[in-house]
Amino acid sequence: MGVRTYRSTRRWWHPGRTVVLGAALALAAGPAALAAPVAPTPSGSAAPAPNGTASTGARGEELFRQNCASCHGQQGQGSQRGPSLVGVGPASADFQLSTGRMPIAGEIPQPRRGEPVFSAEEIAALVDHVASFGGGPQIPRVQPGSLTAGRALYAANCAPCHGAAGTGAPLTNGWIAPPLYDATPVQVAEAIRVGPGLMPVFPSQVLTDEQVNDLTTYVRRLRAEHLDRGGNPLGRLGPLAEGLVAWIVALGLLVAAARWLGQRAGE
C-alpha cells in the first residue's frame, strides 16, 4: 500500500483552486504552510488476504484484533488511546472506516479523511463485529430528496460549521469541520445520525429520515461544478481570496499596462 500522504487525498482541491490557495498560503504564512504532515503507513495495511474458509464473523474479529484492539480494547471496551465502541453502532463504524478515518495513525488530535484502508468486504466484516458490541444507529438507507428543502435545512443546521458553500471551517482546539465535497450520500447520512467527533448528533426526533434524504441530496449537489456558474470558484473561499486576485492578478496587470504605456511614451 505504501506511504500515503494526506495531501494526495484532498481531492476537493481542484487544480485551479490549488493555485489560488497556494498563493494565499504562501502569502499569509510562508512555506511552512505547504509542508503538510505525512501519515505513517497504517499498521493494518498489510492485513492478510481474505480467507475463504473463515466466516465473516471470524474475519471481522480477526481484523479488529489486528487493527483496532490496541486502542479500542479486545472487547471494544476502550482504552487510554481510544474510546469505547460499545453502543456506537454500525453507522459509526461504517462512517469511520469508509471515510478512511480509522484506524488512525499515531497521535493526531482529529482523525482525518483519506482513502479507506480496507476493502468493502473487510469493512462490512468489521462493521458487523462492532455491531455485535450492541446498540447504536444502523447504516441509514438514503433516497433522493428535495433540493429546496435540503438547502433550507442545510442553512439552518450545518452552515454554521461547514460553511454555506460547504468549504468547512475551524472549530475549537484546532478541530475543523471538514469540507463536504468528498462525502458520499451514505456517509453524509451517517455523519448526521452519528455525530463524529465534535459534530452534534441529529437523531430522528430532530431530523426525520425524509429530511436526512433532503440534506444528502443538497450536500451532494453542493459539490457539483455547475453551481459555480460564474467561473473559477477560487476554492469558494470568499471575499479575501477574491481580494487577493483583485490585487495580484488584476491590479498587477493594470499597473504593468500603465508602466508599458508610460515607457512607450518616454522613448
Binding site: 442553512a155 439552518a156 452552515a159 456558474r229 477574491e242 481580494g243 499597473v255 511614451a265
Partner: protein
C-alpha cells in the same frame, strides 16, 4: 465636413475654442505612476456602466418574493425581493451574471487603485503645498468608495453580507450615548428593518455616486489648474511641466489604458466567480456561516474587531462596548490621520514652501517609515480577518493564531517602519541608485544621526535663476506666422519642445523665461530636425519593409504562375 461645421457652429455660440485649445495642450508627465489614478477613474466608469444595467433588474425591497428560475435549490423558495432578484440576475437574466461579477470586480479594483494612487502621492510628497486641497478631496473619495462598496455589498440581502451588516450595526451601536439612536435613525427601526434595503439602495446608486462624480470633477479640475507635479530630472524645474501633450499623445495613451481596464475587468467578470450569493442563501437573523469575511477593503475593520481582546472598559462609570475601540476609534483615527497628514508634516517639518517637483521616496525617511508602518499595520489586520480560513488550512487552533497575530500587529509594523526608515536614509546618503546596490557601509552610515548641513539642507535651498549653466540654452524660431521655442541641454542630451505656439517673439521669450529662468536665449532660423529614431526601431522598420517587399514579390510571382497554368478553378480572373 459636417463635424467641422458643427464644431464651428457650437464655437460661435459658446466660445469654447480658447478653453479647449488650452485643455488639449495640457502637459502630462511621462512617468507611469501618474496613470495610477486613471486606473481608478476608469474602474469608476466601469462601475457606473455596469451598475446602470444592474439597476434595471435589481429590486431593492425586503418584501417577500417567491423565486422561480433556473437555480433549482432555491426554486419556489420565498425570500426578500432583493435577494430573489439578485439570484435571478445571476441565473436567469441574460448577461446578468457577467455584469454583476464585473461590477463587483470593478469595485474591488476601484478601491485598490485608489489606494495605490494614494500611496504614490504619499511617498512622493505630491500632497504638499499647493496640492493639500486635492489631497483632502482624494481622501474623501476613498472614504466614499469604501462606503459605496459596503452598501452595494450589503444590498443583495444574502447571508454573508447580512452578517457583515449586523457587525457594522453593532459597531455603530457601541458609540456611547448616541449609538442606538444613530442606528434607529439610519435604519428606521431595529436591525433587520424593512427600510434598510431601500435606503442602502438610494445611497448606493444615487447619493454617493453623485457626490463622487462631483468630487472626481473637482479633483481633475484642480489637477489641470495647478498643473501636474513631476519628478526631478534634466530640464524639469519648479516652473515647468515636461511630458506629453494631452492631445494627441496623451489621449491615445489614456484611451489605451481605458481599454486595458475594461478588458481586465470584463475578463475577470466572465472567468472568475465572485460573491456567489446563491450558495450563501438569503439572510436570516438566526443563521450564520463560517468562514465569513467582508470584501478586502473593509476587512481591516473586521480584522481589528477580531484582534481586539474582549476587555470591559469603563469610561466615567459607563461600560463602553468593546467594538467601539477597534471599530469607531480605529476608523476615525485612520481617516483623521489621513486628512491631517499634509498639515502635520508641514508643522513638524517646517517646510512651508510650495513644491512642483516631487520627492523621491527616499528623500524623506521619516515619511517613508511612517507610511510603511501604517501599511504593514493594515496588512496584518486584513490577514487577521481571514483567521478562520488560515486556521482551517493550517489546522491550527484559531485562538493560538489570534494570539500570534496580536503580537504581530504590534511588532511587525514597528520593525517594517524602522527598516524602511533606515533603508531610505542609507539610499539618500550613499550613492546607490537603487535598493539592490546598497552596500554595508551605506547601511552603517544610515544608523548615525545626520550631521547638519548634508543633503537635507541642500535639497531645501530655493531654486535661484542660474546665471550661467553651461550647455543649457533656449532656442526660439519663427514657424510660419507663430513663434516656437525649445529648451536644450546638450551635455545631458535633453531637448524639450514647448507645447504652445505664440504670436510674437516676445511672448515666446517670456514663456521660456518662466519655465527656465536664467537660461540664455538664442534665435535659430528654423525648427530643428526631428531626432533620429532609436536603433532598434530603425532596424525593425527596415526589416519590416523588407519582409513586406519580399512577400509582395512572392505573391505576385505565384499569381503569375497560376495564371500561366490556366488556373485551377479559383484563379482570380477565370470565368
Amino acid at each position: 465636413m459636417i463635424l467641422d461645421r458643427l464644431a464651428r457652429a457650437v464655437d460661435d455660440r459658446l466660445r469654447l475654442s480658447p478653453l479647449t485649445r488650452k485643455a488639449l495642450a495640457k502637459v502630462f508627465p511621462d512617468h507611469w505612476s501618474f496613470m495610477l489614478g486613471e486606473i481608478a477613474l476608469y474602474s469608476f466608469v466601469a462601475l457606473i456602466l455596469t451598475g446602470v444595467y444592474l439597476t434595471l433588474f435589481f429590486d431593492a425591497s425586503s418584501a417577500d418574493r417567491v423565486y422561480h428560475g433556473a437555480y433549482a435549490p432555491l426554486d419556489g423558495t420565498t425570500t426578500s425581493a432583493a435577494y430573489a432578484s439578485t439570484v435571478r440576475l445571476s441565473w436567469d437574466v441574460r448577461a446578468g451574471l457577467l455584469i454583476r461579477q464585473t461590477h463587483h470586480w470593478s469595485a474591488l479594483i476601484f478601491v485598490a487603485a485608489i489606494l495605490v494612487h494614494l500611496v504614490r502621492i504619499f511617498f512622493t510628497g505630491a500632497f504638499r503645498k499647493p496640492r493639500e486641497l486635492n489631497w483632502l478631496v482624494g481622501v474623501t473619495m476613498l472614504l466614499l468608495a469604501l462606503a459605496n462598496g459596503f452598501t452595494g455589498y450589503s444590498m443583495p440581502d444574502d447571508l454573508l453580507s447580512g452578517l457583515g451588516l449586523r457587525i457594522i450595526v453593532s459597531v455603530v451601536e457601541s458609540v456611547p450615548l448616541v449609538g442606538s439612536w444613530l442606528v434607529a435613525l439610519g435604519l428606521g427601526g431595529e436591525f433587520p428593518s424593512d427600510e434598510m434595503i431601500p435606503r442602502l439602495f438610494v445611497t448606493h446608486v444615487l447619493l454617493v455616486p453623485a457626490v463622487l462624480v462631483a468630487l472626481v470633477s473637482v479633483h481633475l479640475a484642480m489637477v489641470v489648474r495647478q498643473k501636474h507635479s513631476q519628478f526631478p530630472g534634466p530640464g524639469r524645474t519648479e516652473h515647468n511641466v515636461v511630458g506629453a501633450r494631452f492631445y494627441p499623445n496623451y489621449t491615445l495613451r489614456s484611451v489605451a489604458l481605458f481599454l486595458w481596464v475594461l478588458a481586465v475587468l470584463f475578463a475577470l467578470g466572465g472567468l472568475v466567480q465572485i460573491n456567489p450569493v446563491w450558495l450563501y442563501g438569503p439572510f436570516a437573523p438566526a443563521q450564520s456561516t463560517s468562514p465569513a469575511q467582508p470584501d478586502w477593503y473593509v476587512a481591516w475593520g473586521d480584522g481589528a474587531l477580531r484582534l481586539f481582546p474582549p476587555w470591559e472598559i469603563h469610561i466615567a462609570g459607563h461600560l463602553v462596548p468593546a467594538p467601539f475601540f477597534p471599530g469607531v476609534v480605529l476608523g476615525g483615527v485612520t481617516f483623521l490621520a489621513l486628512y491631517a497628514w499634509p498639515f502635520l508634516e508641514r508643522w513638524c517639518g517646517g517646510d512651508r514652501r510650495a513644491h512642483q517637483l516631487l520627492d523621491r521616496p527616499r528623500d524623506h525617511p521619516v515619511r517613508m517609515g511612517v507610511g510603511v508602518m501604517a501599511l504593514t499595520f493594515f496588512a496584518v489586520l486584513v490577514v487577521t480577518a481571514g483567521d478562520d480560513i488560515l486556521a482551517r488550512l493550517l489546522r491550527v487552533p484559531v485562538y493560538d493564531l489570534l494570539n500570534l497575530l496580536r503580537v504581530l500587529v504590534l511588532v511587525l509594523p514597528v520593525l517594517a517602519g524602522a527598516l524602511a526608515f533606515l533603508l531610505a536614509r542609507a539610499l539618500r546618503r550613499g550613492d546607490a541608485a537603487r535598493l539592490g546596490e546598497l552596500t554595508r557601509a551605506d547601511l552603517r552610515a544610515a544608523r548615525q544621526p545626520a550631521d547638519r548641513g548634508d543633503a537635507e539642507a541642500a535639497a531645501d535651498e530655493p531654486e535661484l535663476p542660474a546665471p550661467d549653466r553651461p550647455g543649457e540654452r533656449v532656442e526660439l524660431w519663427p514657424d510660419g506666422d507663430v513663434w516656437r521655442w525649445r529648451y536644450r541641454d546638450e551635455p545631458a542630451g535633453v531637448a524639450i519642445l514647448s507645447n504652445r505656439a505664440v504670436l510674437t517673439e516676445q511672448e515666446a521669450a517670456e514663456s521660456a523665461r518662466l519655465a527656465y529662468p536664467g537660461v540664455d536665449h538664442v534665435l535659430v532660423p528654423g525648427p530643428p530636425p526631428p531626432p533620429l529614431p532609436g536603433r532598434v526601431r530603425t532596424a525593425l522598420r527596415r526589416w519590416g519593409n523588407r519582409a513586406l517587399g519580399v512577400s509582395l514579390l512572392v505573391a505576385a510571382l505565384r499569381q503569375r504562375r497560376d495564371r500561366r497554368r490556366g488556373g485551377h478553378g479559383d484563379g482570380p480572373d477565370r470565368r
